[in-house]
């Protein structure tokens, strides 16, 4: 009991908010009129990229014909992306896109998983910079792919889908323009960001709440279910991390598929 009293959190209870996503800067400098700030999140971003590169290099080394260990894992991920995402969504033209989709999936997965790893506890994707950058990348990618596969007729196919009575275009064309070129990158980035942000906040609130419930003897019975639920939520967050990486990848494939095949 005396140990519990020592770890008593500061009064009064203050719910964790957006400031949890702005850890203090480790290195900061000012150049070209912009304030650069390297904090934990930035380091985790490079760490995620480094881990992905290292693991894939490790798996790409030659070895026995029957894959073992890390190579087995990576092969199953690549196989999953190729069969379940690229070929199923885009078709046989999807094969050249497998490297891109695999990189996207593994980077987002590792960056998301950082949110639940003890000691790190901050997903690199829970701040707008990375989701927004990835969404803009995908946006440029599918527009360029559409122009490459269908020529300038891509915009005509998207904005004026054939086989529709002419007056409907007055209504349809603005909707298609907004939903294809404006809402797609927005939802792609906001979906990933909001999922990781919400997960981080919920975990922070639950664990902090458990600490506060433990501080007073009268509320200790309530701390037990709160702690159990917090641990269950960590498992849920792992599920969300994998699911969001999957959804980002499959939506990228769907957008590319729309650019490769004209709508009919």
């Amino acid at each position: 009991m005396s140990l519990l009293a020592q770890v008593r959190p500061p009064e009064p209870f203050h719910a964790p908010g957006l400031e949890t996503f702005r850890p203090p800067c480790i290195v900061e400098w000012h150049a070209f009129g912009v304030d650069f700030c390297v904090d934990r999140g930035v380091i985790y971003m490079f760490l995620a990229a480094g881990i992905v590169i290292a693991v894939f290099l490790l798996a790409a080394r030659g070895g026995p014909l029957v894959p073992r260990g890390v190579r087995n894992l990576i092969e199953s991920i690549v196989d999953f992306i190729r069969e379940e995402i690229a070929i199923q969504v885009i078709g046989q033209e999807g094969r050249p896109w497998v490297p891109l989709l695999t990189s996207l999936f593994s980077f987002i997965l590792v960056a998301n998983i950082f949110g639940v790893i003890p000691g790190l506890q901050l997903a690199a994707t829970s701040r707008m910079a990375i989701p927004a950058f990835l969404a803009v990348l995908v946006w440029i990618l599918f527009v360029v792919t559409g122009i490459r596969y269908q020529g300038p007729g891509y915009f005509k196919n998207v904005l004026f889908p054939p086989g529709i009575p002419k007056p409907i275009y007055i209504l349809l064309t603005p909707i298609e323009f907004v939903s294809t070129f404006l809402v797609r990158p927005l939802t792609l980035s906001v979906r990933l960001l909001a999922n990781m942000m919400a997960g981080h906040l919920i975990l922070a609130i639950f664990f902090l709440g458990t600490a506060y419930l433990l501080a007073k003897p009268s509320t200790i019975p309530f701390a037990v279910p709160a702690f159990g639920l917090s641990v269950a939520l960590v498992g849920f967050e792992i599920l969300v991390a994998v699911l969001q990486a999957y959804i980002f990848t499959i939506l990228t494939a769907v957008y590319i598929s729309g650019a490769v095949h004209p709508e009919h």
Partner: protein
């Protein structure tokens, strides 16, 4: 008089802060109703389809996740708006 005015000002600021908190809650709560119904309906139908045609389960699952992603986006806009307003 000036003291009274400052008290009224403090009271109004207090009420505005409270209304802001209620508004934040309302934005997310109301924003979650539609997507909640939508996702429930969507997954229910997907399970129905998978039970009827188990051989099409893979395709149905992919399409289901896509549909969930689109429906969920509305709730997430509400979540983000909570922090913006």
């Amino acid at each position: 008089m000036g003291e009274l005015l400052s008290q009224v000002g403090a009271f109004v600021a207090q009420v505005e802060g409270d209304v802001g908190v209620i508004g934040r809650g309302l934005v997310f709560g109301l924003g979650a109703i539609g997507p909640g119904i939508g996702i429930g309906y969507l997954v229910g139908k997907a399970v129905e389809a998978m039970a009827r045609q188990p051989e099409a389960a893979g395709m149905v699952r992919t399409t289901m996740f896509l549909g969930i992603a689109f429906t969920e986006a509305l709730a997430l806009f509400g979540f983000v708006l909570t922090f913006i307003i």
